[in-house]
Symmetry: D2
Subunit: 136 residues, 4 copies
């Protein structure tokens, strides 16, 4: 793991849960997207900078997720982002979701940088790659 | 009400419910969008025809909704679409959601035709307006 | 309007948008739920207190919403909550969504207090009603 | 693969897409849940039979997903379900999403049978296990 210190707090609302009484399993992917975008923003690259200046966006290419314990209504989760690998157009990330220091979800996410119009793979902008390596 | 006979069956899954054990209140709006698009398709105007040939799309401008009884997991709902008014760029619709002939939700929806690129109000394409008046 | 000063900031992510390039119309209802629950929490009544101590929850009974201007990716919205009326089991709220002081969405929401198990109307717990009247 | 012939058609609506113009990545998990529940229903085990007669429900325990090509608005997807392994309380499934015979998404999903109240692992009801083995 290259860096391990970005984490976004996310509160669980009714909209995130299902009739089983727990957070619906795909909702954790939404939580992880929010954390990745706040991590990028913290590095100085918000969505507009990426799409309008650099003409790129990031798409999820593959994802592995383990559900260890369910989150429930009103939980205050911490959703972390840590880079494990940076390639020409790909970034591999480890994301964990915890509540009161108990790990609930464990995921590895492969994102790929694509042209904002073409949706074809594109090189990660050099200043962003530098930034990622520096915080790593 | 000008016409009252289009209805789309929709099954309720876990993803549609919340920890209260019932369908989450905003999910009914998603169900109503599905019914409106299948109604347009049934009239011969699918999303591609609208956006690529006619260069328009429909946006919801205003909505009033009453939640009479909650839907629950595994319910098979009927979501209806009936036009109540057609203007130059606006359509007013009445949409109801029933389960076993019991009304659960009652809504009026104002949609506006907008340019697919500009998102500014645009005239409803004449062939679509004709079609709507005919089924009305 | 009885009180007008609670507001929750909410960032727009990809998950909140649709292929029209704007926030999907039902997503604003999700944003408004988050604001109502944070407003209740600010009054000292989080979801657990309501469901476990007072054995109640709030359901949306009716809603009117006007979409004035669309929100887009990365917008930082302010979602307000203001009580307009408090009855035995009902609360009427005015909720607005703004971005940079421009109003995007205007809504009135009727919520009803129901038994957490029965989902039948129940009286709003006296301490909560007092609190609402005090901030009003 | 034990069986390979259940498939559910699912239409893509605006609600399923994001501002990138494609289906939002977590939405495919929702599509896959719908297919699993229709597959269980086709085997004679709808959600009520499972929760009220057998007092169990299925939770996703782990998931691996590869996004090969994006689905877009109005696509008519086919979402398949095929069992690859059945244990005492776990089922491993292969799910694929195709459009016009082109594979868009590839996933393996581990679901676990849990008590409807306890959410603790429980044995898959014998008649369901038999049914799964028969179609396999």
């Amino acid at each position: 793991m290259l860096n391990d210190n970005f984490s976004l707090p996310i509160r669980v609302y009714y909209q995130d849960t299902d009739a089983g009484g727990v957070v619906y399993h795909s909702t954790y992917l939404n939580f992880m997207e929010r954390a990745r975008y706040e991590w990028l923003r913290a590095l100085g690259f918000n969505v507009h900078a990426l799409s309008e200046v650099h003409k790129i966006l990031f798409m999820v290419r593959a994802l592995e997720i383990e559900y260890l314990k369910p989150a429930v209504l009103d939980d205050l989760l911490q959703v972390s982002v840590a880079v494990t690998e940076v390639g020409g157009s790909r970034i591999a990330l480890l994301q964990e979701i915890t509540c009161n220091h108990v790990k609930l979800v464990n995921a590895t996410v492969q994102v790929v940088c694509v042209g904002a119009e073409t949706l074809k793979p594109a090189r990660i902008p050099a200043p962003l790659r530098e930034k990622i390596r520096k915080v790593a």
